[in-house]
Assembly symmetry: C2
Homo-oligomer: 397 residues x 2
């Protein structure tokens, strides 16, 4: 199937499993690339076994693999030759195996380059393809722990805390997509492909912005400081009478406005709190003062009042609120319905990269295991029906 999209015509062979790699190729597919997901015959992507399930189909898998075509192929033996034939016709190959796995199969980047010097090769792994820890397995929690992210998430006196989503996987998926598209442009200009090596740990370290600089410049070890921020106050969470909200009154003018709304304009002039730096130093006192006001009212009333006068504020939404929000779910279409042949109509997460002329969209549900074997091996690779039947018989598909 061909459809318009910013990446229409870009052919991607996708060997990735579970999350980081599939998230990257999902974005490419949402933007119109032809992504052919190649799965192990019989079982397929491990995440096909991850719940929650609808009619036995994994919604974990269905969310991350929409818009892709699915084929099966045993990469050993004759399957290896078939894969190399596909590489000749592709623009991009992506995998997230443990480093060395593709080389053991005889399908490392150096081999693929021999059959197609234009190929762009993306690899996502826990620690990257070189360096002393390259052979270590890299789950998301390993990335969050090694990078320092957990050490700075959480509460004073409390434990290091994992971010509630597989953030290292997501960061690595986004980052390899950037590398692939940059390498693709370089390929379009020069005629030469290259390898993009992104690790969960590196991608998470890169996300640490000022946190790394605090240590590098001041030698001060960044601590867990709950929901506040190092450099401005009030910029924190506050309890309301029916939940919590955040307020980002990041400068003196916003602080004065906040005091007026709180019915204490004199507080805004008080010398103890009249500069941002003083408020940062006295953040515990400021929190008590603001929370004494917020705790008496519902979240919605407070947020509406603050937004009305231009003070940045937001409810701390739970997932039910996010999924039903008129802006997020409505106007921004962040949850979209797809009709899956087995699971039926279901909602998955929409594309967050809004392109004005080639709007990313979800055209097809995730493939059943091997659903596009005939189509891809015939149309993409030019094999005859007999040859495909023989491959099936030989257990290659």
């Amino acid at each position: 199937m061909q459809y318009n999209g910013a990446l229409a015509g870009v052919k991607v062979l996708d060997l990735t499993r579970v999350l980081a790699g599939p998230f990257a190729t999902m974005m490419l597919a949402d933007m119109g690339a032809e992504v052919i997901k190649i799965e192990v015959p019989g079982s397929g992507d491990d995440s096909r076994q991850f719940g929650p399930f609808i009619n036995g189909e994994s919604s974990y898998y269905m969310n991350l693999n929409r818009n892709k075509k699915g084929v099966t192929l045993n990469l050993k033996g004759r399957g290896k030759e078939i894969f190399l034939e596909m590489v000749k016709k592709a623009d991009i190959v992506v995998e997230n195996y443990r480093p060395g796995t593709m080389e053991k199969l005889g399908l490392g980047y150096e081999e693929l380059k021999k059959v197609n010097p234009k190929i762009v090769y993306g690899a996502v792994s826990g620690f990257g393809h070189y360096g002393p820890y390259k052979d270590r397995a890299g789950y998301d929690i390993i990335g969050q722990a090694m990078s320092g992210l957990m050490s700075t998430t959480g509460w004073p006196g409390g434990e290091p805390t994992r971010t509630g989503t597989a953030m290292s996987d997501i960061l690595a998926g986004l980052s390899v997509a950037i590398g692939l598209l940059a390498a693709l442009r370089h390929r379009d200009v020069t005629g030469y492909g290259q390898k993009v090596d992104v690790s969960l740990v590196d991608a998470t370290v890169a996300s640490m912005e000022i946190i790394n600089q605090i240590y590098l410049v001041e030698g001060r070890l960044p601590q867990r400081i709950g929901n506040r921020y190092e450099s401005t106050y009030p910029y924190d969470s506050f309890k309301a009478n029916d939940g919590s909200l955040v307020i980002g009154a990041a400068n003196d003018k916003l602080w004065q406005k906040l005091c007026v709304i709180m019915g204490q304009p004199e507080l805004g002039e008080k010398a103890e709190f009249d500069t941002n730096w003083k408020r940062v130093q006295r953040h515990e006192e400021v929190k008590v003062l603001v929370e004494a006001w917020t705790i008496t009212k519902p979240v919605k009333e407070i947020v509406d009042a603050l937004l009305a006068v231009g003070i940045p504020a937001a409810p701390i939404n739970n997932i039910e609120q996010v999924v039903n929000d008129p802006h997020i779910a409505g106007a921004r279409e962040m949850f979209v319905e797809v009709d899956h042949p087995k699971a039926g109509k279901m909602k998955i997460t929409g594309s967050h990269i809004k392109l004005s002329d080639t709007k990313p969209c979800i055209k097809t549900p995730a493939p059943l295991l091997g659903q596009h074997n005939e189509e891809v091996y015939k149309d993409f690779l030019g094999l005859s029906a007999d040859e495909i039947a023989a491959m099936k018989k030989d257990g290659l598909l």
Copy 2:
């Protein structure tokens, strides 16, 4: 200055400030794009005022703006015409103003398109350029709160928790870079640019992977569950006698191996814990059993022992450990030295997107305010020395 890189020859006009936008253009610059950062005369990017400082220079700014050229320009009056002349010669424009700001200046995408239909326009904002909340300010904490990320980060019975880095900004920065590069390819193929609209809230919602699906499919509200994971156990943090570590023994075989290392091979056979699902259900008991072992030993000894038999494990590094790690800081070059004319030699965070042939690198330190005015207005725009002097005199630069 021209140097090789995957994006050599790509010209970016960068109007972004603080974090999300500058992080995106930093990645483009690291990969060889010519990024011209346009700052407000006199004060420049707000983040020039953010610590920590070295000889009065902001390391926050210096980290995110390396490899960019810096000019000043007042976008009002004649400055607007000058900017439009630059747009004619550019490939990409990026901004992270509040939606509507560029339109008020007469420099919205629709205007830029008129002078250069090939221009690719990237906008990063809190809530995006359409939808009922588009006019709300969007700091990072607002993105983390609105998206549901905070509601699922933290501990049972505890408060919603902000991730310890400005993660919504980072996710939006990565995402707009992907959109820009996809739109650039579409432009290269079709001759037409377009607008890329990425919001902090959307980008964070997109990062929620299985969390959204749990609610959408099961109607179950995902909770804060500390460091463990919904679908596998043991996959959690554990206390050692000198810190904490994470273990990801995500299947039965790894669980059995772990029990052997713990000196309790019989535990691996015990019927109460012999499937992953049973261990997830009894995660509190399993944690007690594993922690009774880890608490007696130092982190390094445990991690080394687990890795030696192939059980995924890692220390929960603090930033000092990250910055001095032989893999992260050594082989992967995630902290690199740069020589800044005022701050001197300093370390900043390296590029995490490792391209094999066009290695991203840090060639030049972040610009001083207006440092490249002469060079850019002469070489890029073709203005004479007299014209540039007149612009200075008129307060345009």
